[in-house]
Amino acid sequence: MAGPTVKVGQVGDPERFTPLWAAYYRFGPPRWEPWLRRSGAGRKLVIGIPLVWLCLFFLAPFFIDFKISFSETRLAMPPYAPLLEWGPDHALSFHLHLANYRFLLSDALYVSSYLYSLKVALISTLLCLLLGYPMAYGIARATPTARNLMLMLVILPFWTSFLLRVYAWMGLLRNNGIINSLLLWLGVIDQPVQMMQTDFAVYVGIVYSYLPFMILPLYTNLEKHDPALLEAAADLGARPMRAFLRVTLPLSFPGIAAGSLLVFIPVIGEYVIPSLLGRPDQLMIGRVLSDEFFSNRDWPVASAVAIAMLALLVVPIVLLQRVQARREEA
């Protein structure tokens, strides 16, 4: 065979190069990393996903709710009047209805429900803290094997349904329930003690259900403490109790704050536990909210209740953040 032989596709044969290949050959594979670094696209993506999530499922519903809270009830579908309406004379009219909020303040039911919710949330948070702190401390100081076991035990209740666990408490606390039967059998009491439908039952249910939310952040904080700090305190003459109060306790403040918020916030709006275990004569705000919404079908008032509850929660959170920011500054 005569004539030149052409090796097709051989690397180094410049005539076969498309411009893209030429660039690849010259510069190597594309390097995204410098671009990502410079543009901060990676960071934006990481922050962006939760941001979109919160906007879609928190901020948007909040605004809808906020809007409804300023409307009037109406027997229609949806059961409230729009804020913006084309009047009969084709004029756009804007109805800002503040009566829902005024109603909340004027009706004793709402005020007392709010106060009761606040009281229950405060006391339960305190009880959780008093119970959870020693537990978290114990877990943090235990040997690694024991620590894993204890953490497992803290998390284990989550494996059964929350509702089921509250029902179980009903079985325990009822007049003919396990606790009363046992006490009667032992002869400690001769009449069943009324525990169901009392504040006591509410606290038992709430503290039982929310204790892990207090223990876990406290544990994460306490576990990080340098044991040398306590040794240093002892070395400087502080007895164990003093060392705890001056060193461990102040250093665990962020854990206390996180745990308290994780308990306080959901307890304010708690619906299931007070409904099943609590007093029929004193409602918590979560129950009021659900009644307004489902029984009365008064969406605007229900929305107003929800917005007011949110306001009630925002105040302590902002206060706490202030305190924490000041501590960090100092």
Binding site: A228, L229, E231, A232, A234, L236, G237, R239
Partner: protein, 378 residues
């Protein structure tokens, strides 16, 4: 009174005072691991005693037992004549400077330093005076209101020292006091530390793995290995007359040769080492059994490099230069002997020409003085 002066007594006082710290055959076991194995020690008032050893040798455990964080499995610890058994850390007349400094991160410098005094229940005014005084000594007055995370490593070290010293302890325990500092800062801090120690008359017990730190700080060093104290002595004694092969090898760098005793007199010994062409003549006696295998240790700086063949029948070797490291103040030479044995020699660069007169591959002679080698058994 002159006759009763003990030559080894570092304090140089007329009568040997009772030891300020006495450790009596202390053993500490963790499970089946023996961290400290029968240590006995006497430390005099005003001494700077260094516990020197590698990691896991038990030095930190011993220190923690002095502080009261651990209690001995057996044995006794006496401080100022008082048995420390069962006395918790917060009641001991001892303060400790932690390796990590263990400053309270949520307190300011003044909060950290005054913490110990507050435990004593002193008045506010007195606490302020004493905190001011001690912070003056460590040059940290301007940083009174800073928090630990706003300080540099060296500043934290000073605060940790001030916090321990403000309690006016009779005994200060220091765990790797200079470990976290960079080289320049270490040298400066070392001398400052000694200045403060002398000024306040505190007894120091220092734990370190760094022999340089031990050498400069200590009046006496206790070298530890595997939970036991292998040798105690002044830095000079430890360096020049290592009692065991471990000490010789651990402190500084050394050339160790195996050998057999060929001549054993009261004032000198002669040892034949298979790796050396001529015997080693040592002008001091050897205390060990003469017929067993011996080791001979010669420090790199005690050997001299020369081009001229020595006239003597002992104490030299011949080899070729394999490596030269120019360090500025000194040069390190690695010389390969005929048998393949590598020997380390250092020469001080007293003149610019010293380092330049030897080059790679050159045949040289190594010569040393009869007083230089150290001989031991085992």
């Amino acid at each position: 009174m002159e006759g009763s002066v003990r030559p080894g007594d570092p304090s140089g006082s007329e009568v040997a005072p009772p030891p300020y710290v006495r450790v009596e055959s202390v053993v500490k076991r963790f499970g089946d691991f023996t961290a400290v194995n029968g240590v006995s020690l006497d430390i005099q008032k005003g001494e700077v005693f260094c516990l020197l050893g590698g990691s896991g040798c038990g030095k930190t455990t011993l220190l923690r037992m002095l502080a009261g964080f651990e209690s001995p499995t057996s044995g006794r610890i006496l401080i100022d004549g008082q048995d420390m058994a069962g006395i918790p850390p917060y009641e001991r007349p001892v303060n400790m400077m932690f390796q990590s400094y263990a400053l309270f991160p949520h307190m300011t410098v003044s909060g950290n330093v005054s913490f110990g005094l507050e435990q004593e229940g002193l008045s506010k005014a007195e606490i302020r005076d004493r905190v001011d005084e001690i912070l003056g000594i460590v040059h940290m007055q301007e940083f009174l209101h800073r928090k630990p995370h706003q300080l540099s490593g060296g500043q934290r070290q000073r605060v940790a020292l001030a916090r321990a010293l403000v309690k006016r302890p009779k005994l200060l325990l220091l765990d790797e006091p200079l470990g976290a500092l960079d080289r320049k800062l270490r040298e400066r801090t070392q001398f400052e530390l000694l200045g403060i120690q002398e000024r306040l008359g505190v007894t120091f017990v220092v734990v370190t793995h760094d022999q340089e730190e031990a050498m400069t700080l200590a009046t006496r060093i206790g070298v530890m290995n595997r939970g036991e104290i292998v040798q105690t002595g002044t830095p000079r004694q430890i360096y020049e007359y290592p009692a065991t092969r471990f000490v010789a090898d651990f402190i500084g760098s050394v050339n160790l040769f195996e050998g057999q005793l060929v001549e054993d007199e009261a004032d000198h010994v002669r040892v034949r080492c298979p790796e050396l062409p001529v015997p080693v003549y040592v002008d001091h006696g050897v205390s060990a059994a003469p017929d067993g295998p011996l080791w001979v240790a010669i420090r790199p700086e005690k050997m001299l490099l020369t081009h001229e063949a020595p006239a003597s029948g002992d104490n030299w070797a011949r080899g070729s230069i394999k490596d030269i490291a120019y360090m500025g103040d000194i040069s390190i030479f690695v010389v390969v002997l005929a048998g393949g044995r590598e020997v380390r020699v250092t020469q001080t660069n007293i003149a610019r020409s010293v380092g330049e007169s030897f080059s790679w591959g050159e045949e040289v002679y190594l010569v040393w003085d009869a007083s230089s080698p150290v001989v031991g058994a085992g």
